[in-house]
Symmetry: C2
Subunit: 236 residues, 2 copies
Amino acid sequence: MNNPLKIGVLLAGNGVYDGSETHEAVLTLLALDRLGVQTVCLAPDVPQTHVINHLTGQEMPETRNVLVESARIARGNIKPLSLVVANELDGLAIPGGFGAAKNLTTWALAGPEGQIEPAVRDLLQALVRAGKPIAAVCIAPAVLALAFRGTGIQPKLTVGTTAAPSPYDIAATSAALEQAGAQTRQVGPTEVLVDDVNNIISSPCYMMENSISQVFEAIEKTMSKLVEMVSLAKSS
Amino acid sequence: MNNPLKIGVLLAGNGVYDGSETHEAVLTLLALDRLGVQTVCLAPDVPQTHVINHLTGQEMPETRNVLVESARIARGNIKPLSLVVANELDGLAIPGGFGAAKNLTTWALAGPEGQIEPAVRDLLQALVRAGKPIAAVCIAPAVLALAFRGTGIQPKLTVGTTAAPSPYDIAATSAALEQAGAQTRQVGPTEVLVDDVNNIISSPCYMMENSISQVFEAIEKTMSKLVEMVSLAKSS
């Protein structure tokens, strides 16, 4: 029997406003498990930028740790990012949520001039250079844009479309991704964009006004494509 | 167009060891949305019994609020339990996780002699007396056992089977539910038990050594049966 494919799931806390978007993270784990691959949850062992009361939207006067809060989604089965190297993984999935833009990077505060957690940058660069595919949904494409800023690699990414309702400014977000050096394309709310040059897949998920069923539809498409590309990369 | 059925989803925090089991909660919301019903997340506005570090399993020296943490799973779209009456709902789903046994009740500390949050007891009693169906997965059947202790109503519940691997003591848990006045039956890891007398559905989910895909299979069966029973109750 062959070893199953091993796909990392990079988490950034637990909750849409200060961590990984919980639905996107859980549905990513579900979709990958249904595709028969092994998942490995990862998160950086760093403090969260904010703790947001998800009932009121207000900042709470406390501190939480990204790895510890991500462990809630992983049911305790998670590794610190510093202990994982690209060699161990066949590919990577990054759910969205403000954690991608606040904890993995400072995109939410500084946009295309934002910083990226060095261990995140190093893992993403090593994966792409090894031809290992990465899927990023919702605002997680911003992590890829910052990871490759100034490297000559220009990932092709989507954060949705201006032609359907969104709670966010899709045109401004797309423009900011381009300022960071990425290429962008608009796709429909449950559609997937494939960057065949860099083996990157993206889909808007909760960047658009999607229901949880639509988010799962998009995540199933995204993860199917990821596993297809991972299988192809491994066999070539 | 008919109004959609309105199903409450009773949350107890966010994380398997001190709140609602995150996968079970998210997958309950997904399954109900795919069945075309409207979901209303609910949680009591009370302090959590514990805050557990999900990386180490150790208690953390801080306090969190059940409603505020549940709001992470609900993306902010949640009501305090005290503002919801049985009349507003057509049925209810209760995901598992230790929150059901620590925050909605004190089952984890006192078993069949445990206390139940009065607003939870009142809602569950009102729903059952109105013939409105309730689904409870994982350890959430313990909430139903305590809600009906001493009432003459004997819910028929499952927490799994001793014939397949489980991280918990299924025989002891079943015996404790019976001490609280419930009836119990064993069912397989992804099977569903239906109590036609009281309109209660239960399924073991993560009480057994299930994968996330198996948990989703069980939750889809459970929620399909719930919506079928809710539709029947509404039309009769």
